[in-house]
Amino acid sequence: MGLDFTEVRAYGDTINDGAMQLSFTLPVPSGDEAREAARQLALKMGLDAPVVTEMADLGVDCTFFVLYGKCKHTVDFTAINIPKQQQKVMSFKEVNALIKDEIGRKLVVVAACTGSDAHTVGIDAIVNMKGYAGEYGLERYPEIEAYNLGSQVPNAVLLTRAVELSADAILVSQVVTQKNIHLENLTELVELAEAEGIRDKVLLVCGGPRISHELAIELGFDAGFGRGTMPNHVASFIAAELVRRKKMKDR
């Protein structure tokens, strides 16, 4: 299968056929005209030979479509490179050892699910004793002192607590993303931290199903973690990063 990675195409039945499936609703009454409208929209998106395979009347002059077509567009795969978590993942043992040897005191971590977000399962999976999928949570780390403030914590409250506890790292979870409320929430935290002049005294880490490291960096965090994160991933980052910073200061 001759493949040119500078011009990658979608692949359905035969290589480079560009085949794709779409589904969407148009606010127009069901019928031949609606089908044609769907077809035209697909053409504008760069789909050749679009075929509406299903058209369903949604009852309020709206029509749902399933459509197949062949996408003309290509992607240059060779040009893609993504900012990645450089830190290699360490085990529970390794992390604790590192902290003990290199920092010599317990690290303080404050975690919360901020704003109006009440989805604690994710942050609990990272922080609570029990942990996630068999991996111990941060509370279980002898070298980490973890405080889980729970859900719906205002950014201000979170920061005050962090200062009181002179936290080394703040962990925020954002699960609800409707209308980009998570972006607002996260941005606000960074701004508050800067306003209070503690931004560079503490590691800011966020996570959630729609969070990527890339996004976190953009928003001014030190790291971001997405779906399927394990407690030791986060612990590894925090420990290693703090060690790095300590070393830099010590010079």
Partner: protein
Amino acid sequence: MGFKLDLDRSRVDHARETASDIADRLHAWIGSYTTTTIERAVARLFGIDGVDAEGVPLPNVLIQKLQTADLLDRGLAQWLACAVVDRNESPQTITEAVAVGILDVKSIAGCPAEKWREVVDRMAKEAAGSIKSVRLKREEMIARAAPPPKPLLYVIVATGNVYEDAVQARAAAIQGADIVAVIRHTGQSLLDYVPYGPTTEGFGGTYATQENFRLVREALDEAGEQTGRYIQLVNYASGLCMPEISVMGAMERLDMMLNDAMYGVLFRDINMQRTFIDQHFSRMINAFAGITINTGEDNYLTTADAYEKGHTVLASQLINEQLALRSGLSEEQIGLGHAFEINPAMEDGLLMEIAQAQLCRELFPRSPLKYMPPTKHVTGDIFKTYLANGMFNLVSVLTGQEIQLLGMLTEAIHTPFLSDRYLSIASGRYIFNNARHLGEEIFFKEGGRIQKRAARLLDDACSMLQEIKKIGLEASLEQGMFADIKRSRDGGKGLEGVITRHEQYYNPFFPIFMKRQVCGSGGL
């Protein structure tokens, strides 16, 4: 729906009695308190509505004033009656006077008990009468409509914009939904007031306001007319304003309310005393209004592991049932919740789901059980999620569930699109029809995996209830026995709204709502 699990009925009775003791223990103290939202609910029942210049709801303005004036411990009713006698104005006018500051609540002259009692009871009768007429209206409409086959198709709308909700609710109804719930704005349950008027901005859902209730009710009645059916409307009598929202629902002919005795405590960190006191009056209102309540045990399984914690659902259902009965709800009005949340990767997981669903059915034969879809383990693979929802629908019709909250293929992604809802309704209609009588056709192997699982769940629920009876429901919440969540007795939001009743405390609606006999069509 025959009995297929060969359960030890004495275990069942024993479990129920234990739950009853737990409820009694709670009722031993909640009767000595009232709350700000209960009194605001009374204000609303007396027709007090609207907002002041700053947009604060008048019920809040009035109750706030009475609380600061230390008058609230006798309840709003007494003061209001005296004010009516004193000024011979309507509760609304009186409240507006208080709001603009031309009337000081302390300035109201007291009046003889027999006098204010007589006034209060008359006003309360009227209020109850208008709620009753709403209930009768519903019953008429249902009588005229085509009776829907069970399980009922329940979908949610959650655009945040009530006008768009109305359109999408109508669409769902036309597509075949029997029940439509408008999910609330994410943060509303933490507000100690109920927003006013139509709203167009909300996250994760739309504000519950009386006007929003009315607008969506209108849209659904329209769709009902169009299709010759009656479409039920649902909202949430939960959070810090449980009784007030029940009043609004009673007035705007909502048909169901999510109205759990513990959800707010566990999932919204609302103070447990506040919640237990509020839920009692809130549920009385629903009972009288002929509204079916939904409980939230499903949430335990989205938070803790569904296989390990299956028995906590049963224990909670039994407690919710006993508390609900104590608020005058009939069994047919108690839509106990449970869910299809076992990890789909589990071998024979489907058998375990069947066991749990069948067990709920056999424990609560008259309850309009509310069955919640897979959510926690579904992913962005919309095809797999669509299939999992189909399996959920199959188990539902197989085990005779009543209220089917249809799963969305995009559950792991966003609040439902118009088309997501359409596809979920299509799935429900297909499976329920294609497997209509499967439940009648199939039996379970004696002592097989399904029966064993059910027996095990029942045993574990019994032990859990025993433990709770020993330590009390409050302590069980402190220890995190539900959903792995720990809540302290005095922690959480809203404790400041709890007020110890004066021995002369009077709320005319308690006797009226509790007297009433079980309303036949309660179950809808």
